[in-house]
Amino acid sequence: MNPISVGLVVVAAAALVGAAAGALAPARTRPLVTGTATAVVGLGGVLVGVAALGGQTWSLTVAHLLPLAETTLAVDALSGAFLLLIGAVAIAAGVYGIGYTSPGGAHATDEDDAAPGHDGVGAHDDASGPATAAASRTAQAVLPLFAAAMLLVPAAASVSTLLVLWELMALTSLVLVLAEHRLRRSVRDAGLWYAGMTHAGLVAIMLGLVVLAAGAGGESFAAMRAGSAGLSPATASCVFVLIFLGFGSKAGMVPLHVWLPRAHPEAPSHVSALMSAAMVTLGLYGIIRVGFDLLGGGTRWWWLLVLAVGSVSALYGVLQASVAADLKRLLAYSTTENVGLMLMGVGAAGVFAAEGNRVLAGLLLAAAVLHAVNHAAFKALLFFGAGSVLRSTGLRDLDRLGGLASRMPVTTALFAVGALGAAGLPAGNGFVSEWLLLQGLIHSVTGAMAPSVVVAISMPLAVAVVALTAGLGVATFVKAFGVGFLARPRSAAATGATESPLSMRAGMGLAAAACTALALAPSIAGAPLSRLLSVLPSVRDGAPLAGSDVSLRLAGIAGSMSPLLIVVGLLVAGLGAAALVRRVTHGAPRRATPVWGGGSTRLSPRMEYTATSFAEPLIRVFDDVLRPEQDIDVTPFAESEFLIESISYRQRVPDRVEARLYPPLLAAARRWGQWSRGIANGSVHRYLAYGFIGLLVVLVIVGITS
């Protein structure tokens, strides 16, 4: 019995049973039932992924399930990697969701607008409705279906199967994003943007794949793989650009990212984690599958486009994240940044594959996929942490949080692990994949083959982009962790925070364990990555990552690093220093004393630095890109305009891409729509004439072409 088929049956069965049970179960047991079902779905996915990465393959063709087409499913090492990733996130999200959708917590508040300016009020007492909006029957029942749809997309092996599963994934995620739509207006806006962009992406994917299938003479992946060599370069490029736009919009690349910072914050936190950590990687999967596998590698300029768009996404995403004051919006923009880094890896790999340098191409593609896995681990953990904070305080606004280190110690410690990974510092898992990416980029100008001019110009710029992204990423997560969790609470809601329930801590713990394992022993990914690369014809090469359990060694080029030794060294040095200090000072205790505030005895938490003030130097340095908006309202006393009663200061950093690019497009679409209303003016004669002329045109065309 092929473990892959067992796993897929588990996925489908658990999803259907979980959805049905979630719809029928009483509210008291619904969180447990649906959470467990989602975790089992994830477990099935992990089983399939491990088996596929271990070398198993599987395929299935079912006729008559879909109209006009066969349903083809196939699993190889490439799909296996993404199945493993998504399955693991689904397990953690399922466990976490049990506690998150349970009654209690302060996140079911009536807030007009999620933007800063409204304090968390407290638990919402609604005897009639569900305890929290995220616990509504629909939202809970759909969760296992969403996880299953995400798991089946990498297993699709024909165009129609892929499109149906893609749309299923989009619809279930849309339902989940809209779970809290009664509470906040911004959720409805987010749902609208998300629905529009995901369907625009679907159209692009559909066009691209249909053109490819028509040109290759068959709609199954096997047929397209065989027939893509016969496509003309113009057609192949057209297919690639359409695919890139479609899958890239799902991944969240600039300028098609505008739905991400709206939808991810407004969704319930376990859904945000699933979307950010797992769903965006399916965009990456699509680009790799079509570009490297079905189109067989392609020409160089495709991948330079991917590299360029990835660089812009990485920089823009991290810049917006570093100045965001809303915690979940910050995490959403950080997803854009990491997707940009993944696309840079994929693009650089494609450039080298097109030039024939398979060693570097393999290394860079492995780095991109490993970064996707690392990102899934730490981004899920970070969103879980943000969800814990949201549930406990009702706040997403960093300017009002703080002081959680003593009130929510477990959440703080686990968020620190995630932030360490996201910042790309040693002892975090993001460091390993960024190091691999850098090694791939810097070895481009050395080595046996003299680099081409294009490579010699683009790779140093790519290194500079990765470096600036890494630096700003550190700034972002120092802000998120330092302002959000440390020092003293800045609002009443933060003062009243309590630790999350056990299932939420367990979910976070699972994600943190994955982060730690990937940080300390990254060589476990070596064999699976080489099996993944062997699936793709243009980058097939030996193992990119060799090395023992202790250190990471690159095969074919000189480079080695040991994250485990670094961490061991840090622990030995730190603990040794602590022991030495304790010996020298004879263990004298510390004196508790008020904070030194320049002599003032009236220090209040309002005087602490906020997230907005922390980001102020960055806003100043990058103000040409960010264009912040400031509003200052001065309210004088009624009696005299020279006596000020209050001053209100508000600073916003809008998404400049959205503000400049989308209104003209939407206005043009609206104008076109209004013009086309003139065509349907209500006259029956005109409609009959349209039908008659249309029939004539079709007959003429058929007559000419036959």
Partner: protein, 315 residues
Amino acid sequence: MTAAGVVGVLVQVALVVGGAPLLVGLMRQVRAVLEGRAGAGIGQPWRDLRKLMKKEAIRPEGTSWVFTSGPLVLFASTLVIAAVAPFVSTASPLDGVADLFAVVSLLLLGTVALTLAGLDTGTAFGGMGASREVTIAALAEPTILLAGFALSARVGSSNLADIVAGTLATPAQVLSPATLLAAVAFAVVVIAEAGRLPVDNPATHLELTMIHEAMILEYAGRDLAVVELASAMRLAVLLGLSVNLFVPWGVATSSAPLALLGATAVFALKVGLLGAVLAAFEVFIAKWRLFRVPELLAGSFLFGLLAVSASFFLA
């Protein structure tokens, strides 16, 4: 992992830990002499540290484990760099993991630890210092990595021992345009990372002009001693890296005891000389306004980019 190799690592660590406060004392003494003063002597920082260990430590209200562990993380990260970098010998047992990018990330880890500790105090000074420090660190990253790229491109590896060995093997490369440009870029970055003039004034009393000092205003006693020692070590490590990556002659290529002894003396001499030059340079300049520092870093980034282009087009 020979005994001689382990001895070499221990010698290097002892040299950096013991010699860093002496380096700071030397720099203060050079500055004092140029200003016409008598100065406190090279050993004054060690006297300060000894006295600080006898003072009581405090726990400000509202701080957490981040505040108490910040100095230790900063110290540990700098110590690991001191252990793996090829200061005294390129034949150490740890040079398989002495990657340039790993070292740069360890420096950043130390910065982050102190920054979070500054935020944890909950004072406006701590937050301000943290915000400025993190901005400068973020803007210095591209320059460091491009300078590292230029150095690695020459030898085909970003391993520190390989870079040093490569320069020892072909001495003429030191005068190549790529290396000179990378040296200038690296010099600016070292000044920014170590918190010296014109980026930051380590002796200022005006909180609004502080960057590094503002984050440590709340530390006292043993915590302050660890922070001061770790900052001195960070300066020593940065100067040591710039000296050995660009002027590596004197580094031992084996683990022979005599070679190690000679290499220790040469390294101490080189770093002392560079520190004295830096201190003398600081007498002639004033601190720059904070929002001109990004322009300085952008200029050094351009030098780094030119260095990489030169390493390809002119190599």
